[in-house]
């Protein structure tokens, strides 16, 4: 898909993508500055990311980063970081397992409205900071 809003200062596009990697195409990635691949701390999720990341690179997307989600224990984090380190994947965010997310879903509400002080929200704030720092967008337009 061509001509998504280009990186105009002050614009952000967040694209919630198809889950399956077959739907990543050269057409999609050419319009994306960075791909966040969300993984959970279990083998099949990591293996899927293990295929998605190189595919995205092959299609010409350089900035492909891992976000670890639903992390419950130190062992989860260690396993994800080890897996990523072995493959040269960069982890840019780590979001803890958080019942607030389940509850927001149950209520049909946005997490940030349902539980603004939840640990998961704080972790996503840190993720927003990390991504913005890497992509270096200019000061927002205030629009």
């Amino acid at each position: 898909m061509g001509d998504l809003p280009t990186s105009r200062p002050g614009d952000v596009t967040v694209l919630d993508m198809e889950a399956s990697i077959e739907h990543l195409t050269r057409g999609t990635v050419r319009n994306v500055d960075a791909l966040l691949v969300v993984v959970e701390p279990y083998y099949r999720s990591l293996e899927t990311a293990g295929r998605t990341v190189p595919l995205a690179h092959e299609l010409g997307l350089e900035q492909v980063w891992i976000v670890a989600n639903k992390v419950r224990a130190a062992g989860d984090e260690a396993a994800i970081r080890a897996y990523c380190a072995q493959r040269g994947f960069e982890v840019v965010g780590l979001v803890p397992f958080d019942e607030s997310v389940v509850e927001a879903d149950r209520q049909g509400r946005a997490l940030i409205d349902s539980a603004p002080a939840a640990p998961a929200v704080g972790a996503i704030v840190a993720l927003a900071d990390a991504v913005a720092a890497r992509l270096g967008p200019p000061v927002p337009s205030g629009g």
Partner: protein, 112 residues
């Protein structure tokens, strides 16, 4: 800044994408949240009301996209109208003025 968020169903990608959208909007960015998932839930996760979700119309592929061949002879979908026009016509504006669009199937390979 154009971010794509991918992951298996149930991984939490929609919650993360939606929360990022709201956060960047609060920082002053003009945010478009595009839902390419076959089960479009991004609107709810961004904070649209039930009425607003009911207003969401999938952007019609035929109206918007035409295939063109790139230099390698590969078909690449292109917009036939400026993206801003598409946003104005099809978006539903949620909290923090995040513009939500449902684009299921428009951004992948061989989808109709």
């Amino acid at each position: 800044m154009r971010l794509a968020v991918a992951g298996k169903g149930g991984s939490g990608k929609t919650t993360i994408a939606a929360t990022l959208a709201r956060l960047y909007a609060r920082r002053g960015y003009r945010v478009n949240a595009l839902d390419d998932d076959p089960n479009p839930n991004l609107g709810v996760a961004v904070g649209l009301t039930a009425d607003q979700v009911a207003q969401l119309r999938r952007v019609p592929r035929e109206e918007i996209v035409e295939e063109r061949l790139d230099l390698n002879g590969q078909a690449l979908p292109h917009l036939t109208r400026p993206f801003d026009e598409i946003v104005r016509e099809y978006d539903v504006t949620g909290p923090d003025r995040v513009a939500v669009l449902t684009m299921t199937g428009l951004l992948g390979a061989g989808k109709g």
